[in-house]
Amino acid sequence: MAVFGGRRRDDNPALPPGQHLTESFPVLSAGPSPSISTEDWEFFIHTETGQTHRWNWDQFLALPSEDITVDIHCVTSWSKLGTGWKGVSLDTLFAEVETGLDFVMAHSYGGYTTNLPLEEVLDGQAWIAYEYDGGELEPEHGGPARLLVPHLYFWKSAKWVRGLVMQSEDNPGFWEEYGYNLHGDPWREERYS
């Protein structure tokens, strides 16, 4: 009799509980891929004072960038190790931003949202990435630019990111509103609320 094993068992210490390795890069999206030209692209951070900090594509590319190599973990149970990105640290983008609020809502072109605590996107934990694996970020993977927060499940790394809005409460984003975890730490298996 054939015994179904599934892909669940993998004792690689780099894998959080319940995850399996993949070599491919599965595409998951809650909606159609928006098509955004870099001419029209902008990124903003909006604070409680009503102030909006904006960068167009050229201004964004002129910021200091970093090469990032990280493991990524999707809540649907695949993990991909040692992925290479290039992007701008949120520390750089928040350098001039003054806010007293503790949470951010990431907004994407196409309407997607996801919520994050501010302290988890600072101190070298998050980037706006615009290159993947040495090439420009493909639209299906979130290009021209996406949020990259590798220590949380990958739905937090919003594709086609457009801006961050500071919020006083940890209000839920798109998937979070329908029952996914507000925080989403893969090492604590925070998949659902």
Binding site: L28, S29, G31, V75, T76, G179, Y180, R191
Partner: protein, 91 residues
């Protein structure tokens, strides 16, 4: 007028929740397009099923499946029109 208890819904919903969803018509809350759910555009798998309006991309329905439970949001639908059983058999 006095209200009734929710228990009274048992009858009408018993029939209502047996319908075949894909051939049931619904109206988009956002653009008023009327279509069968089978005509919606579904994204989001395998995290969930995000059914969007074929006309305006508005999210009609979200279904999240996890061990032991399923959750359903129908926020983007104004209504569903469920044909009686015999009618539904003929679309």
């Amino acid at each position: 007028m006095d209200h009734l208890d929710g228990n009274v819904l048992a009858g009408p919903t018993a029939d209502l929740f047996l319908f075949e969803p894909t051939t049931t018509q619904g109206q988009c809350q956002s653009c008023a397009d009327i279509a069968m759910l089978g005509q919606a555009m579904v994204y989001g798998q395998p995290m969930g099923f995000v059914a969007r309006c074929r006309n305006c991309d508005n999210v009609l329905i979200v279904i999240i499946e996890r061990a032991g439970q399923k959750s359903l949001s129908m926020r983007g639908l104004r209504w569903l029109r469920v044909a009686d059983r015999a009618m539904n058999d003929r679309i």
